[in-house]
Symmetry: D2
Subunit: 374 residues, 4 copies
């Protein structure tokens, strides 16, 4: 019953998401960061290992070395967390799978749709656990909304508005976090749509239980000189006929991380905001408006299982992230984790990005969202 | 220095907007409802006259009679407020103008673009004051945002998101208020887009000081059996290159009257919600977020002139409406009222509706918004 | 069925509350300002009459003249609105009652408890309608909370927290509105407690249906050199044993008009804020939190009767004020208006002020709130 | 550079705060739960050890055994976290100190003031690190408010309103969390005042930088049959003359964990709510209202050091708690941690509880808050 041992690729000095993966993985006392190839620069990788307080011998110069060395240990890593820039997601996952190591990958799954399809083949062939951190699906009240919608709380879904405004790239894109995101070589085909639009896309499908079948995309690089989109609007059609609007922006000055979803059905609606994640508004058919709060006794099992503190003790981003790792731990132990995003979500997301970028470039009207192999 | 005498056409028993016009007109003690042809049914018109407590002899069976009778009095009406269903806006305005009577019309100006063009000719030829109650432009903090943007507070405008969700037509459309709105014969070409989308359109142009030049429209009749659109998304391009998203819906269960506008510029942004109209969020370039409140000492002259109470004493919809009437009173007295919507706004709005309805029906991609005669 | 004719004493140039009374009285088209003695300076009274656009002959040099002249007219005033500084409330009401004219008085009823007792004798002896504008009891959702509590929605009331923070007297008290409020000669015994604390006191009793029986008061003049209290805390006991905390302050920098009441019972609670008056939070025994909004179909008759617009069209301070005048019009027409504050509320309030000021000065612990003659 | 090893006393099956201490301690990767005496029932202690996934041999039957066994190991625990019910805080801390082990204690320090004084002697004599988890002082924006006030942002503090409403004990107090809190034998002298009022007390002093010198207390057991207070109001005087109101309640139905503090100075004010902890309102002297958000570039070093994610990625209760452990790690490594509550805060808090309980029982007016030995 020891803790599951986590290896990490990426997450070196200056990284944002690597430390978040570690905090999330360790939050429930069920996993522990044990080894890492934290940087493509060996010295920086060792420095990171010290900062993470792992055994010095288990901070490695590169991923291949880590996989080889850990494979020789009885207490080798149980899984690999991939927290590199996007263009390295596939190579890292490929190497881990080849070594028989399950993968928890930061999103998006890969840099291109073709890569995602390759990864899907690898994952399916290996039978290994593979998951993607679409973080926002880990929030308890997101899961509550999903469960209530699935149970018919608002009738047939008719309309989804999902938006994700940020403002941090409204000016120059300098700094470690910004630079790779505006660089097509490291970020992949999409800018804003790939960085955050894809979170909104996943959330809309996750909460509603529906699938996007068609879209109309309008992407732009608003800041002069920028190569990748930094502001996107995508109109959506879902498989039950519902209509959707997806907005993502990184030039909305003053917005932090304003992911917000509203779902309207025939007989009710839900409204949830990531920046105040412990409240969920439910509109009822009889006109009542209810504020559902994390920790409420009326919450269903999915939300309850994703909550660590009583009502009024706010949980946030790290805890949502940790809920994905808790699901992943279940997978690793052979238990089901039906809410955890996996490679099929990764492929859908990459298809969404590719289709939107292409359609917008052509100024096309509605186009189908086709998922190769489905 | 007597009060200005208001005549009204429409506003009979069961009406919502007629009484609002009366309250708004009289709020500042500068106008008084004096005569009316309140219903196409003479008996009901007389009943309404009693309820409005006007002199019985000045409740008329029809508009023509009113105009004729009032013209004979030394204390006849000074202007006509048109509060009928949309298809009667033009005939009423035409009759008033023919009688030399200024017109304050509920929006939209007319039922069709052709009618609006005719009305524009009539207004221009007459030289008479004519105004349209795009109510939301009367809110003090809307005017404050407009003034600050004009003064460069957020730099060049890049992005506008304006939305207007309602839920009251998500089910059956019964009741006096609902029935005419879903009937093409009385409502005109557009349903939701004409009823509320047009408010959002006007607000976006009003606050930003920009003009829409192109649009991409996606309108739908979501409720089975409905003939007119009840849910609309329109993508916008403005004359300075800014991008916009306009959403209007009457099937968003649980939403009341959620008009909401966000405007982002190169160096700041504004956020205003009609349902909490006495606060305006300003995002500053240096990262500060400010809550500007009605009554604040720092407000400019437009907002200050549109405010009747000290900070913290909430004003609302009726007061915003009254600000349009206060502007109209200025017009009638020969003073300027540059913020008051007029026939040109009416024509733009009708062109917007016509273009959006047509483009959506054809599933067109981007189309220009052409204003005949401009 | 003509409009009721309103006379006004006070409300001259620079006044805040006089114009509010006029707007409120006229909002529903049922009353009209017809005459006034607007200032103790005759010239200023005539100027005010022009601005109010009343007949010049009906702007009077003083109240006695107005009462005498109006009494001679067939269309003389039907009631008097008293909007002077506090120390003139009693003389004005006394004169009106002597002339057989009903009185609508701004709060507080009088400057001292003895005066209030005298006024109670006069009102009772005359049998004339007399009412007091405890404005906040006019808000629809305040009336809804009252009705629901009376119907048992939260069980026995256990705890009330009512607060009224303002910040506008945190510095120098200059300007027409501020100066008389900090002057004992014009304001009466209490400063903050009389100006706004008394609103909180009335609201707590009004919403809960309970009566304060004991209090413990801690009043202070925080700003150096101030003679009257500008910050007050009063602990309360109600007649059913419930506990209360009342806070009022005029030195809370940044607060506008933050009247806020929370009432907790054995099985639920209510939460209402004056600055966002169109929402009422109800806490249910089963843990649900509901947002009740003005215009909701589920509202009871008191709230519905006090609402002029559909949900989502915000009403505010002037509309709440107008609801008191609508009640007063009912009184004048011989109909019941059970929610309208009257002279007994005025006496209770003055006893509250007098008791709190005295107890605080003595640094007493709990003292009874005794109402002479009850 | 290994992780600091944490021992825990308390925190067995069903505990709330024990797991929170573990999550908080481990969040930054700097500490790890290594040993524990989790329950007074040895079997339950071993079960807890399994659930925490520590080495089976390091789950002990009782604290004395743990301290003795760990002392023999080269890798023995570096500190002890005390998370038992209140009456065991002193014995546990005493044992740890006797064994030369630093202590991180849940609040309150002890069950009585006398115990706290004894503990102060022990801590001082030992020179060992000792800290108390007044959690709410760990929130970044609480520390920001403190820093800004210390730097003069609002001038001299005049008024503090701190409240802490909860509703969970409004009915029967059943369940592991509730039972000991309403039992004087396990909870100590105070009920609500000791459980949550003391948090409010600490927060008020912490943020303002002031010390309470006098108080007037009104405590009650509202629920029939309850022995300890469940609703408290305490009026405060601070050492600079500022006035305060402290409210704590556990019978406020519908409230979760509504800790809320407002501080008003001569030239500004702050407003912070625990349930939306990532926003801080600042009122400026010139009337501007600013929303300061966690992650803002303008935040000072204390807040920045206490923040793990960029703006818009909400952090909450566990992260605030972790900030105290991060401070404690600094202490253990010999670095300063000036914001971390220690034994002197513990003594002040116990004096506050004892004084308030006594004064309320006597229905006293103002009494001094005396700290023995200061």
């Amino acid at each position: 019953m020891a803790k599951l041992r986590m290896g990490m690729v990426g997450g070196g000095p200056g990284a944002f998401i690597g430390p978040v993966h570690r905090m999330a993985a360790e939050l429930d006392g069920d996993m522990i960061l044990t080894a890492g190839a934290f940087s493509s620069d060996a010295t920086r990788s060792f420095q990171a290992g010290e900062r993470y307080r792992i055994e010095p011998s288990r901070a490695y110069a590169d991923l291949d070395t880590m996989l080889a060395q850990e494979a020789r240990r009885a207490d080798g890593i149980d899984f690999l967390s991939v927290v590199t820039p996007n263009h390295l997601h596939l190579p890292a996952a490929r190497a881990a799978i080849a070594a028989g190591i399950p993968v928890m990958s930061d999103k998006p799954a890969t840099a291109t749709l073709d890569e995602a399809l390759e990864l899907r083949r690898l994952v399916r062939a290996s039978g290994l656990p593979y998951a993607l951190t679409y973080t926002y699906s880990g929030y308890p009240l997101v899961r509550e909304a999903r469960a209530r919608i699935a149970a018919g709380a608002i009738g047939k879904v008719r309309k989804i508005v999902v938006e994700y405004p940020q403002g941090w790239l409204a000016g120059d894109a300098s700094g470690k976090q910004a630079e790779w995101r505006v660089d097509p070589a490291r970020s992949g085909l999409g800018g804003c749509i790939g960085d955050i639009g894809v979170h909104a896309f996943h959330l809309a499908e996750f909460v509603s239980g529906l699938s996007v079948t068609e879209l109309l995309a309008d992407l732009a690089a608003v800041v002069p000189g920028r190569e990748l989109d930094d502001d996107c609007t995508v109109l959506l059609r879902f498989d039950n006929g519902a209509r959707g609007v997806l907005m993502a922006s990184q030039i909305s000055v003053g917005e932090r991380n304003g992911l917000h979803i509203r779902i309207y059905g025939e007989s009710g609606g839900f409204d949830w905001r990531q920046e105040s994640p412990n409240a969920l508004i439910q509109h009822h058919a009889d006109g009542r408006t209810e504020i559902i709060q994390a920790g409420d006794a009326a919450l269903g099992p999915d939300a309850a299982a994703a909550t660590r503190t009583p009502g009024g003790h706010p949980e946030g981003y790290i805890e949502a992230f940790a809920n994905l790792y808790a699901d992943f731990a279940r997978l690793l132990r052979g238990e089901p984790a039906p809410l955890l995003p996996g490679i099929d979500d990764g492929v859908r997301s990459m298809a969404f990005i590719a289709t939107a970028v292409d359609a917008s470039a052509r100024q096309a009207s509605w186009v189908p969202l086709l998922i190769p192999g489905e």
